[in-house]
């Protein structure tokens, strides 16, 4: 280890680290511009100069590039250092008078006026020629799309021949690292840089390829989005691995299939909301201020895209009037879902309150069909919202939302007063129907669980076995089964867990004896039975002689999975499968007995 003294403080650093690294360890702050921990240092801007007092060749050195040496004594804010920085800043300010970063830094160093003429127009811009972007593009991203071009006063960062170049990936890293925000890659990037929408915030903001899936995710660890990461796109970059102090980044990790033998499966695939843009009359997708309730939820969330500040997406101002529309697609026989989505009444009541918290002088309206507040204390909650004038509840449907000026005109009927009304709103929130997760049909076929016409999974019995499915060992929890609110989902999840435990806590499985049995002596092994088994209960079984030679591969019915429907028995041509309780000879006798 290398021992050195910074501003009188002893620190130890590993060999190869810079003075800047050592200063950070010592808790001394040194301003930087051209430095980025992921990019090899160049010492170009000279803002970070420090003074070597002893233990080396005395003098000013750029701390970002100068290696720490044993026995060094460093001063980070000696007068000599400050003088040098002020000079540097004055020059930078002259070159880039418009740069906020430089202005702030200059102000911190007490610079009010400069002795040089400020450059303006063509020759003066925010670029301080530190070259960080160039080094990044060449050495980290590996694209070498940009470089310094020209000499002297004409020197600038550009692409070769100032052409739009296919070499540019459009990753935007140059802009990201630029200390002064001087680069706009759109100037030279042939492919416009697409922001990565933040899925959790309904795409209302963007995220980086490395991101937390959502706040309070478990585990609360960032992940790399391989589709957007430069490393996975080009094999370059790798900056995150370089700078991760924990060395936690491993690009070789891949998705893998994990097989587990389990005794029970609980399906809790939840719900999605249907896309309300299919209903053109509400203008969703056409007007930015028509949002879904889920988008609204994110907008008012403190961890949301706007940090909890509710603003109109069209103009960034708080909406002074807001209209909530219920049953968008729900309870709609034609072109919709005939069922009630169940949770909208309650979350909308909550949303009106949240709205009033954000926009105190705002006015909220709710168009509803009828309020379904069937849970504990639910009705009282809705009544409070109405009573305390958090919102004006209007019973009726909206026929059209259209723009007039910067307002959204909501035209609907108030069926209680029997009048047509039109509200000039600044924001419209839709409560779309809940639908099962996409892919639920594939999953249900894998699990051999039935689903209804809407894709919600079928329970074994609506009253007596609401958590079980017809496939033994598969249980349902939450909205995969039907729209459910949180307490119901939690209750069903608990029930499903108990059912699963009740099943797997025994060393032996007990079940209905009505199952299929294969006569192995006559089974042909054609496995047509496997094709008709709705439960995947049939698989191969190898019959061997005493020496282990394979004699035949025959069908084997897993008695834990078989439900005894007998489709296999009806399919078996050699009549090698019998369903206990409905054996062929029993049915034969029954047919015979009819004609007594």
């Amino acid at each position: 280890m290398i021992k050195l003294t910074i501003d009188g403080q002893q620190v130890e650093v590993e060999p190869g680290r810079t003075i800047l690294d050592a200063a950070k360890l010592a808790g001394r702050e040194i301003p930087t511009l051209c430095h980025h921990p992921a990019v090899p240092p160049a010492g170009a801007c000279r803002i970070c100069v420090v003074e070597i007092v002893a233990g080396g060749r005395p003098g000013l050195v750029p701390s970002c590039a100068y290696p720490a040496q044993d026995g060094m004594e460093i001063q980070t804010c000696s007068e000599r250092v400050l003088q040098s920085r002020r000079m540097t800043l004055q020059l930078l300010l002259a070159r880039s008078p418009g740069s906020e970063v430089i202005q702030e830094m200059a102000a911190e160093h007490g610079i009010k006026e400069i002795p040089f003429p400020k450059q303006t127009g063509e020759s003066g811009d925010d670029c301080i020629m530190c070259g960080l972007c160039v080094r990044l593009c060449q050495q980290i991203v590996g694209a070498s799309a940009i470089c310094f071009d020209g000499r002297g006063p004409d020197r600038k960062v550009s692409t070769p021949y100032a052409d739009r170049s296919d070499v540019c990936l459009g990753c935007g890293a140059c802009a990201f690292v630029c200390p002064t925000g001087a680069i706009d890659p759109a100037e030279y990037c042939p492919n416009p840089i697409e922001k990565i929408p933040n899925e959790f915030n309904c795409g209302l903001d963007s995220r980086t390829p490395i991101h937390l899936p959502f706040p309070q995710a478990v585990p609360n660890k960032p992940l790399i989005d391989r589709e957007n990461c430069i490393r996975f796109k080009t094999g370059g970059c790798g900056a995150c691995a370089d700078i991760c102090p924990a060395g936690a980044i491993n690009y070789d990790m891949t998705d893998e299939f994990v097989e587990e033998d389990v005794g029970a499966i609980i399906v809790a695939t939840g719900y999605e909301i249907m896309d309300p843009s299919v209903y053109e009359e509400y203008g969703y997708g056409r007007y930015p201020d028509v949002v879904t309730s889920l988008e609204f939820e994110r907008m008012v969330s403190a961890s949301g895209p706007s940090n909890g500040e509710l603003t109109r997406l069209s103009n960034g101002k708080p909406p002074k009037s807001i209209v909530f529309l219920q049953c968008i697609g729900s309870r709609r026989e034609k072109n919709g879902k005939p069922y009630c989505s169940k949770i909208c009444c309650m979350y909308t009541a909550k949303h009106t309150i949240l709205y009033k918290h954000k926009v105190h002088d705002g006015q909220a309206f709710v168009f509803f069909m009828d309020v379904r507040a069937g849970g504990k204390n639910y009705d009282q909650f809705v009544r409070r919202v109405v009573k305390e004038k958090q919102a004006t509840y209007l019973r009726g449907r909206v026929s059209k939302v259209y723009a007039r000026g910067d307002k959204l005109m909501v035209r609907g009927a108030d069926t209680l007063s029997g009048t047509q009304i039109e509200i000039a709103a600044e924001m419209v929130v839709l409560a779309p129907a809940l639908v099962p997760s996409s892919g639920i049909r594939d999953l249900s076929q894998k699990l051999r669980v039935g689903y209804d016409e809407h894709g919600f999974l079928l329970e074994a019995h609506p009253k007596l076995r609401p958590v079980d499915t017809n496939t033994a060992g598969v249980f349902l929890a939450g909205a995969c089964h039907s729209p459910k609110d949180i307490p119901e989902s939690v209750a069903q999840a608990g029930a499903a867990a108990s059912k699963a435990l009740g099943l797997i806590c025994h060393t032996r499985l007990s079940r209905e004896p009505t199952i299929g049995i294969v006569d192995e002596s006559s089974c042909n092994g054609c496995f047509e039975c496997e094709g008709v088994c709705a439960y995947g209960a049939i698989g191969p079984r190898e019959l061997t002689d005493k020496k282990g030679n394979l004699l035949a591969t025959v069908a084997f019915i897993n008695e834990g999975l078989c439900q005894g429907c007998g489709a296999c028995a009806a399919t078996c041509r050699s009549k090698s499968i019998e369903v206990q309780g409905y054996r062929d000879d029993q049915l034969f006798a029954a047919i015979n007995a009819i004609h007594r």
Binding site: G450, V532, G566, G581, I591, I594
Partner: protein, 155 residues
């Protein structure tokens, strides 16, 4: 020849005989409901309960005809409602093909009915049985087969 007890083709004494194969979960429950709801239906129908319409092997139907059925009915859950998720879909393919085979061989397809009756359709069950009983009475005894019955076999 030993006189056969009840296979006489004498129309005056003849009573139709319908053999019905019902799935346990829908049609049998539907027939049960018909009973509980006091929907009357003709007694000509004799029920064999199966777990699922998918359990029906065409041999059941042939055997029923051999034994003297004038009409055979297979009834299961409506498509999509099968307790075993897909048994009735398989039954639908097989039994409709079987009916085509019968028809091709000259066996009157009106002698073999397929229906979907849910556990809630007690009334449908009752009217269905009335309907097919009336139809089989109109058709008369299944002579093609009754001539083949024990004692009267053409060799």
């Amino acid at each position: 020849m030993i006189q056969q007890a009840s296979d006489s083709t004498d129309n005056s004494k003849w009573q139709p005989r319908i053999v019905a194969f019902l799935c346990n979960w829908c049609s049998y429950a539907g027939a049960d409901l018909a009973g509980m709801s006091r929907f009357a239906y003709p007694a000509a129908i004799k029920i064999v309960r199966l777990p699922c319409s998918g359990r029906v092997d065409p041999m059941f139907i042939i055997k029923s005809f051999e034994q003297g059925a004038d009409l055979v009915l297979v009834s299961g859950c409506h498509p999509g409602d099968c307790h075993y998720t897909s048994g009735n879909y398989h039954a639908r393919r097989k039994l409709l093909a079987f009916r085509e085979l019968m028809t091709f061989l000259g066996i009157d397809p009106r002698r073999f009915k397929i229906s979907w009756v849910s556990a809630a359709e007690g009334a449908k069950w009752s009217s269905l049985v009335k309907e097919i009983t009336a139809e089989v009475i109109a058709l008369g005894p299944f002579e093609n087969y009754s001539k083949l019955r024990a004692g009267g076999i053409a060799e």
